[in-house]
Symmetry: C2
Subunit: 482 residues, 2 copies
């Protein structure tokens, strides 16, 4: 039997933190005199109360948790936050039903960015700030997890990134928890920097802060129905592009850069391939928009760079309805949804390092065809890839495709048409945001979907955010057997 | 440098065989007095001439071929047949241009079943018979390859099926070539049986033979624009369903059954899972058509059984436009395109055994999460799966998805819309036949696609039919280095 007490203790701590975060939108609404401030205050008090009760009733438990408890803990945290974080959405004047509220909160904390709220331009600041905060907290949450928990749990090849702390050549590297803390500081500083740039480029202070939080988190919630397209500013587009990329690189490498070793950032294979993929995709789409779409070259570059990078990184902003760009663009953007950024960033999706591991493995298989008895060793970042990592990454890829298929078929069963179902499933599991097509594409929203589809999509977001394995392992009967 | 002479020798033999096959449609047209008989006769003579020249000029070469030559040989055979097999389509009164003719021949010999010919009902018997013959020959060709060559080449996990001949417990099993010959006889007998059933159920003798050939080959070319739906007969539907399934099971197991060990057929893991998947898919679609679509239960079962099995097995017949069945059906049928049947059958796609290997590997990864130091061994048909097979299958899955994506994006670039591009790519690479949507769906055809798309789809069919690796290995620069 699993001892839930240490799990509940940490969940309690998390709830207390969430309660503290809820005071910020309460303040924002209070400043402009919007009655929603009471909803946030009440939600905060309620959340704090639950958190304190959990902490007090379980504080005497053992602090060390075992492997099973760790899996339950991770899933519990990422389920509790949207469950509680949905409260303000339900009780605010906005009046979402709980399905919509939960969807919005899950989309927020998983940094997906799909929204069911129509009329953001007229929404009170509290709601807008709460959406941004959920994404920002979700972003730092996943970075912290990628540094501390996921490599330990050996989820989907993430053990590749465990070496950092035990690497003999890096004796000066502090302990894992300290790394996570410093990384958090970098995340905070980067967000403030981004906000300052946005503000200097013409956004209001509020818009600048809200967008900075959702840019660094590669989340994509905007304070306007028109997303970043609302501002219609090349400068703002450029800032967003720069910081979406910042949010997609491994944050530990920034830490190294700050500590005087910026070379690691440029020498990292993940970073190099990510930048290459982004450059090729943007260039290809620019040519397509220019030659086939007849859009003037500079406009094509601006549209392509912003929207392609928004999709690849899974941010989900839009400056135009890219669903209408034609067959090639839609097929290409569809594929880009799956890519994601680097491990240890705020992005989701398959992630660059997995493509590198899969490619190395596939290439070796082809070479082995010609030399069946040859010995070939796949490499990643100039180190041989262990068999266990290889098997883990390959299983991840198979399960990722399988979960996407199951989700798409489920959405079809819920009544969605082909492109809405398939792109919606991809968008959810890769935490992108908008899908493709007229309903959930960048010009649409998720409000009109049936409730069943919203719950399925919420499950898909969670599954994708926690790298599948963390959730799937809980579904095995053997997990719960003593 | 690769010695091409033994390769050209075998290609010569193949061309002579193809020339012999061309006399059959010549005969059919001569019987009804259609002038196309001259085209077939001339094509046959030309093909025979080329074949004999190749045989005579290379007969002195060494007969034993090495690994590199084997890869070139396989690709050469499957490229030469459609290249030459396209001649009658071009020069017949039908007057296809060479792109269309090559597409039709490639679609035939790979047992895909996508067609560019409109007006089959009025077409002369020679053309119809040639289409059926190409599929039938392609069917036996791939079975023979799956028994003889592919396991030796260790392509995509096919080495799993090499054990048959070296298995100590089967001393009585004859040599590989003999197995291939006996299997060919079974294929022939099954085709005759199928034709007899079709004829007894009301088809004309010609239709019965033509459809029997394309049913056993899971090819899907019909002699009518309305496909099997043209006959509107529940009995014919049932016969087709039965023989499509016969064509999807491993033919070596029939040989064992004939030799007095039918138990192998029922105990084979591939066969069991295939039947299970088919049963669940048909049942699910029947419920959907009945409950959501409002189709009366028995009609729903008939429609579902025929069309679902046609898609899963990659046959590609249709009795209705299943593209219009709604979101769930389209998404589900889309996924079914990828499944395929058993290894050693005439089907294409990912194939059942690969799902079993992938599932076993993924399940072990999940179990390993809880016991990181545990030793888990994946099994297939009660035998442990070698690491090399595991790696090969996983690389195959990754490359299959990658090729599909590349093909879909390429088709998008050629101007196709999203569903036409994605389903067309899936249909080609899995050798299914029709795609989804109004253009290439079961109610449409491939005639109106741009030439670039037809060449891309032809390449996709070849890639899928030869299990990817066989073609991809030729694209590696190291293959051609001495």
């Amino acid at each position: 039997m699993i001892d839930f007490r240490p799990i509940l203790f940490i969940v309690g701590l998390l709830l207390a933190t969430l309660a503290a975060a809820m005071t910020l939108p309460a303040l924002a609404d209070a400043v402009v005199g919007h009655p929603d401030w009471q909803v946030f205050a009440a939600s905060s008090a309620f959340t704090f109360f639950i958190g304190v009760v959990l902490i007090l009733t379980t504080r005497s438990s053992r602090r060390r948790i075992n492997l099973r408890q760790a899996f339950v803990l991770v899933a519990a945290c990422w389920l509790v936050i949207p469950t509680v974080g949905a409260l303000p959405f339900t009780f605010a004047l906005l009046g979402l039903d709980y399905t919509d509220a939960f969807f919005e909160a899950m989309s927020g904390v998983t940094t997906t960015g799909s929204t069911v709220i129509v009329g953001l331009d007229a929404a009170p600041p509290g709601i807008l700030l709460w959406r941004a905060l959920l994404q920002w907290l979700g972003g730092i949450g996943i970075i912290a997890m990628a540094i501390t928990v996921l490599p330990m749990l050996q989820v989907g090849g993430m053990q590749l990134f465990r070496m950092e702390s035990s690497d003999k050549s890096e004796k000066a590297m502090p302990r894992v928890a300290q790394v996570a803390t410093f990384t958090g500081v970098i995340y905070l500083v980067a967000t403030m920097l981004c906000a300052a740039f946005y503000w200097a480029a013409g956004m209001t202070g509020f818009d600048a802060v809200a967008h900075a939080m959702t840019t660094l988190a590669t989340g994509g919630f905007s304070t306007h129905d028109g997303s970043v397209g609302h501002f219609d500013s090349a400068l703002i587009d450029t800032i967003a592009v720069a910081f979406m990329i910042v949010g997609s690189l491994p944050f530990v490498l920034y830490l190294r850069a700050v500590r005087g070793a910026p070379g690691h950032l440029w020498r990292d294979q993940q970073v190099r391939l990510f930048i290459t993929i982004v450059a090729i995709s943007v260039a290809g789409m620019t040519f397509y928009l220019n030659l086939i779409g007849g859009i003037e070259a500079m406009s094509a570059l601006r549209l392509s760079a912003f929207n392609v990078i928004s999709v690849i990184t899974g941010t989900g902003y839009a400056t135009t309805d890219f669903s209408t760009w034609g067959g090639f663009a839609v097929a290409a953007l569809f594929c880009m949804m799956f890519i994601g950024g680097c491990a240890g960033s705020t992005t989701c999706g398959l992630k660059i390092f997995r493509f590198q591991v899969l490619y190395a493995a596939a290439h070796i298989q082809l070479r082995r065809l010609l030399q069946p008895n040859g010995v070939f060793i796949p490499y990643y970042n100039n180190k041989p890839i262990e068999d266990s990592v290889l098997a883990s990454v390959m299983a991840f890829f198979f399960l990722f495709i399988l979960c996407w298929v199951a989700l798409a078929v489920g959405l079809g069963l819920a009544g969605l048409d082909f492109i809405t179902a398939t792109s919606g499933a991809a968008s959810a599991i890769s935490n992108v945001g908008p899908g493709l097509g007229p309903i959930i594409g960048p010009a649409g929203h998720f409000a009109d979907l049936p409730d069943g589809a919203k719950w399925l999509l919420s499950a898909g977001m969670l599954l994708g955010r926690l790298e599948l394995f963390t959730i799937l392992v809980l579904l095995m009967p053997s997990f719960w057997r003593s």
